[in-house]
């Protein structure tokens, strides 16, 4: 029953155990720590000292002075009568009145330290404290192997430090570090892919071929292109209108914020203005000929597309053309018709504008609306409120999620009450009886479902309880909501992708890499981002078939070039032949043979076959750009989207490495190996 930890710059995902059907991460914690009272120690949330003389009758106050280590935040117990919650793990105790009291403020970010910046560990003590906190929150039993998802930006030295830390601090029996791009490939079940991970402040672009990440030319932590960049550009646009950063952040996460494909005319704006804003370059003086995506659409035409107006009024009725022509007044008639049409259009325009103003446009798609609204949640700071104490229980795993770095829409998969039971069961079969574990997991999933319903109900109650703290405001916003990506993020990421793929030495592989783009990361969650990115790639980099070779390209490519001797032709290489430092793909084939859903290697083989048939007179790439197919067999992931696919991949890998393979092919490092080789031994066996 392995534990999986995946730290990100904003949110750290973690989970203990592998459910039968892989689910999104059970535990989502913000990647931040707060300096504790004592120097050098860290707390997972803001600790405030209060000197309350209130009589504590019902509420237990958590004493959190020196260490939070033992708390289990997930074991919430709800006192439903008064909406008060307390920690139910026996750690809490009543306080003497004269001692200082401490309370946790789960929402405050005051003094927070984010130890990961742009994927790079900037504060090791805080980062290690965070890992400790995550580990304690999971509270795995002994003999739990750990899989850690590594940011691409971590250096070899970082890997060694973490190895040492995990083995010596947590006494884990087995440990494995897996690259995040590789994890995404496992999730998608493809061995060759261009993985674009849009994070908080950075984007990672990795070309993976045959389960080997190309280190050379890899776009590691390209800073300045991420979700935060988009918030920033929204803030620049709206800041002058009295918006706060938090409002921009929530706007970005709301479903009305959209990235429209380049050159799309924004609704309700005169055409020229719209263009200069979405794509400054498009309005710039161009070269020899005017061209391209600047399709001129008149205002009237655009209105015609609107579903509301398209009530058939515009198709001038059925005309007896013959009689009109025969009457010889064609020109006159047409002129009159035109005039009528224009009048009608004008009237209609006024009508829709009015309709928009009354916020009536229910049927219009967001991208056509002038203005739209979203719910903004503001958290009131009410520390002296007695409620504040209750909140301590909710803290990091705050299910509503708006502060925990996730999407507000996404509900955290609830931690079922079954958890303590499962944990103790696991303790029982610590020796690693797989069948047993899986059985219990199945039953657990059943309980999960029941628990989820329960949880939903509870969430509602919590929401009610919270409504005292949370101010919900409906905020209206104009076309600025389409400009989140106006800061050049799409172009920057596209250039990075182009650079990364062209840095792959095997020229034959590049076509395949362009055909299997994988865009993940919560930064890419903004509506329309992926499509817009692919559109930018297509319009900037796609090589169209040359009109000059339309006939010759039918010939096999080796007719146009001298037969290669092999020595100097970049040939596609068989997996595993050229690289020794990776898990043998054959291992995957062997270990996952029983479960075809887990078998990414099978698709490698089919890709290989395709490759041999490929020919093109173009040595240049890309001749086509496609997103890789989203894996179908994970129902739980479908609802939440595959932005966090790396966690899914981590579960697949954990299953393969720890359960199926059990170390035969050195997928992980055991304690024995650690004792022998030391931390640097991790390079021998990490994924």
């Amino acid at each position: 029953m392995p534990a999986i930890i995946s730290p990100g710059s904003q949110t750290t995902l973690a989970q203990l155990g592998l459910p039968e059907s892989f689910t999104p991460a059970k535990l989502r914690l913000p990647t931040r720590m707060f300096p504790a009272e004592k120097k050098g120690e860290w707390e997972p949330c803001k600790i405030r000292e209060i000197r309350s003389k209130k009589e504590k009758t019902k509420t237990d106050v958590v004493e959190d002075g020196s260490s939070d280590k033992k708390e289990d935040v997930d074991m919430l117990d709800v006192d439903e009568a008064n909406g008060v919650k307390s920690l139910a793990n026996g750690e809490s105790r009543n306080e003497e009145d004269d001692e200082p009291l401490y309370e946790e403020d789960p929402y405050s970010e005051e003094g927070a330290v984010y130890p990961l910046k742009g994927g790079i560990v900037t504060n090791w003590p805080a980062f290690l404290a965070l890992l400790t906190h995550v580990h304690n929150t999971l509270s795995p039993p002994f003999h739990t192997p750990i899989l850690l998802i590594a940011q691409p930006a971590w250096t070899s030295h970082d890997h060694e430090l973490l190895t040492q830390f995990f083995f010596e601090k947590f006494k884990t029996p087995a440990f494995c570090i897996m690259d995040s791009a590789m994890a995404v490939c496992y999730a998608y079940g493809i061995g060759t892919a261009t993985v674009v991970d849009v994070g908080y402040e950075k984007v990672d672009i990795t070309a993976v071929s045959d389960f080997v990440a190309h280190e050379v030319g890899r776009g590691v932590a390209i800073s300045g292109y991420g979700g935060e960049t988009m918030t920033q550009s929204l803030f620049e646009l709206l800041g002058s209108k009295g918006w706060t950063r938090d409002m921009c952040e929530q706007l970005k996460k709301s479903n009305i914020c959209e990235v429209l494909p380049q050159g799309t005319i924004l609704p309700g704006e005169p055409q020229n203005d719209a263009q200069t804003i979405t794509n400054p370059a498009a309005a710039a003086p161009t070269g020899a000929t005017e061209s391209g995506p600047r399709v001129t659409i008149s205002d009237v035409d655009m209105r015609d597309d609107d579903p509301i107006i398209k009530d058939g009024e515009d198709n001038d009725g059925v005309l007896d053309v013959a009689s009109i022509v025969a009457s010889g007044k064609t020109a006159e008639f047409l002129a009159r018709k035109e005039r009528e049409k224009a009048e009608r259009a004008a009237a209609k325009k006024a009508a829709t504008d009015a309709a928009n103003a009354v916020t009536k446009p229910t049927r219009l798609p967001n991208s056509k609306k002038d203005r739209n609204t979203f719910w903004y949640e503001e958290r009131r700071h009410s520390h002296e409120d007695s409620d504040a104490v209750n909140e301590s229980g909710r803290r990091a795993t705050e299910p509503n999620g708006s502060k925990s770095g996730g999407d507000p829409k996404r509900q955290k998969t609830p931690e079922p009450e079954a958890e303590p039971g499962a944990t103790s069961e696991a303790k029982g079969d610590a020796a690693g009886d797989i069948a047993m574990t899986e059985e219990t997991e199945a039953s657990r999933r059943e309980k999960d479902k029941a628990a989820r319903k329960e949880e939903k109900r509870r969430n509602k109650q919590q929401l009610l309880a919270e409504s005292r703290d949370v101010l919900r405001k409906e905020i209206e916003v104009g076309v600025e909501r389409f400009m989140a990506a106006s800061g050049g993020i799409l172009e920057g990421v596209a250039d990075g992708i182009h650079r990364t793929v062209l840095a792959v030495e095997e020229v034959g592989k590049r076509g395949e890499l362009w055909d299997s783009l994988v865009i993940v990361g919560n930064g890419s969650k903004v509506r329309g981002f992926k499509d817009a990115l692919v559109a930018v790639l297509n319009s900037k980099y796609l090589i169209s078939p040359s009109s000059a070779t339309i006939f010759t390209s039918e010939l096999p490519s080796n007719l146009s070039t001298p037969l290669a001797t092999g020595a100097n032709t970049p040939q596609p290489q068989l997996p595993g032949m050229s690289h020794s430092s990776n898990v043998n793909p054959l291992l995957l084939a062997a270990t996952t043979a029983s479960n075809p859903a887990l078998n990414p290697a099978a698709s490698v083989i089919s890709h290989q076959h395709q490759q041999h048939n490929l020919h093109s007179s173009h040595g240049q790439t890309p001749t086509s750009i496609k997103l890789a197919k989203i894996p179908e067999y994970f129902p739980e992931w479908k609802d939440v989207g595959f932005e966090e696919a790396l966690f899914l991949g981590a579960q697949v890998a954990a299953k393969v490495v720890f359960v199926v393979d059990q170390g035969i092919s050195k997928g992980f490092m055991t304690r024995v190996e650690y004792n022998e080789l030391g931390p640097s031994g991790i390079h021998e066996c990490s994924l």
Binding site: W124, L161, D495, T552, G566, Q620
Partner: protein, 456 residues
């Protein structure tokens, strides 16, 4: 060095010394800096040698920009430079040091990230010697390479002064415990598994007729063809539309408020040329030269009748290149065939690849020559051009009809491009090599001059 190569007996246990060390190998070149741990098969960190600066160069507020991630973003006042000279030696030591440090610390080892007063690392550990404290302590090093010996490569014609400079950088700036300077030719031979070899290293700049020469030839080709072929780098194009071959480009261009420096544009143009070289340029593979041939026709005529290869520029302009794509590489073999323009006269005939090989073979003892010819190792990115190996083979057999000529060129592209780093990696991980290191103590005793005495 010869001691290492001839030792066929396994070294005694005591010779291994620090078996646990993880040596770093640094292989700087004109186009990229390769760095990685000895014993690995490809360098983990490959950083372009070009770097950017923002702001006036000599002022303290100049901002340096290193690495592929950042130097390709068009920024106002961004200037692109290269600390290396065209023959692969270091020109600007201060920046080269910074660049190498970036190459090493960004991917391989850690470097102090924050101010030591602020990051909490220097606070007295209160939890007495537990793991966290140990780890904190290990991050405390003042210098990036305090526990990694460093093996650096150099060109064969590196001056004594710059050799001394490199050990100074390693010892003083980076605090390396041990250092070694290896000739990259020797490293390539190592990577090829040869004790003696004729190394033909066709990189970007090392001989005047390498990668940049072909870029230059391409530029001349583009500017002299009629109509001129536009060389518009990607960053200037917002989007493009397919056009017929040879037709003027139809694209929307990006407009910048502030002017972008020419050096940046040149760097970006190189990227396009690089793609062109990869997908279009070809070497006439022999026999004979491009302008010779049988039965009254020249090979050039033959080549022209072959189907061409199309290339599409970033702005959508595209054309099929027939004979021209052979022509641009022919100057490497035959100076008379090089394309010229007023600024770029033809290279001297003595600088062509066959002439260089001839000259270097003439410099060695006549008895060794057949042995060397049987062990020709080819490396460098430019040697990856289509037909390069065949052509070299045909030229060599023509020049030296007697002895057997055997070329060894790794088929793996990474091995071909990074052969000298790989050789260094093999060398650095050899157990027997550990006694060769110049240790910090020796350096302190004898000064920088020790590198001249030891690293031969």
């Amino acid at each position: 060095m010869s001691g290492v190569q001839s030792s066929s007996v396994p070294p005694g246990a005591q010779e291994y010394g620090g078996d646990e060390i993880s040596a770093l190998v640094l292989d700087p070149g004109y186009s990229s800096v390769r760095a990685g741990f000895a014993g690995e098969d490809v360098p983990k960190s490959v950083v372009p040698s070009h770097y950017g600066t923002i702001g006036p160069l000599d002022s303290p507020e100049v901002k340096y920009i290193f690495g592929d991630n950042s130097i390709h973003t068009p920024l106002p006042n961004l200037h692109i430079h290269n600390p290396m000279s065209k023959d692969g030696t270091v020109e600007d030591w201060d920046t080269a040091t910074k660049l190498w440090e970036y190459a090493i610390t960004s991917r391989l080892t850690n470097f102090k990230a924050s101010n030591p007063a602020m990051n909490g690392l220097n606070d007295p550990p209160e939890n007495g010697g537990n793991v966290e404290a140990d780890i904190e302590a290990s991050g405390e090093g003042e210098k990036p390479l305090e526990d990694n010996p460093l093996l650096m490569t150099e060109t064969g014609w590196n001056s004594g002064k710059s050799r001394e400079r490199s050990i100074e950088v390693a010892m003083e700036n980076w605090g390396c415990p041990a250092f070694w300077l290896a000739r990259n030719g020797v490293c390539v031979a190592f990577a090829g598994g040869k004790a003696s070899a004729l190394v033909v290293d066709v990189g970007v700049m090392r001989s005047p007729l390498a990668g940049n020469f072909i870029s230059q030839q391409l530029r001349i080709l583009f500017s002299t063809s009629n109509p001129q072929i536009p060389l518009i780098p990607h960053y200037l194009v917002a989007s493009k539309t397919p056009v017929d071959a040879g037709a003027p480009a139809v694209a929307t261009y990006r407009q910048f408020d502030t002017s972008i420096h020419d050096s940046f544009r040149r760097l970006e143009e190189e990227r396009v040329l690089q793609e062109f070289k990869e997908s279009v340029v070809q070497v006439w593979q022999g026999p004979g030269r491009l302008n010779s041939g049988q039965q009254g026709t020249t090979n050039e005529e033959v080549v022209k009748s072959w189907p061409g290869r199309p290339f599409e520029m970033p702005d959508g302009w595209n054309q099929v290149f027939g004979g021209e794509r052979f022509r641009v590489s022919e100057g490497m073999w035959d100076a008379k065939m090089a394309l010229t323009d007023p600024e770029n006269p033809a290279p001297p005939q003595s600088q062509t690849i066959p002439a260089l090989i001839q000259a270097s073979l003439a410099a060695v003892d006549v008895d060794i020559r057949p042995h060397l010819l049987a062990n020709v190792v080819i490396t460098g990115g430019t040697s990856l051009l289509y037909g390069f190996t065949d052509r070299l083979n045909s030229e060599l057999t023509q020049m030296f009809p007697g002895p057997r000529v055997r070329l060894s060129a790794p088929g793996n592209t990474a091995e071909r491009r990074f052969a000298s780093w790989i050789g260094g990696s093999i060398l650095g991980s050899l157990g027997a090599f550990h006694q060769m290191w110049v240790s910090k103590k020796e350096y302190e005793e004898h000064g920088a001059g020790i590198v001249e005495k030891r690293c031969k």
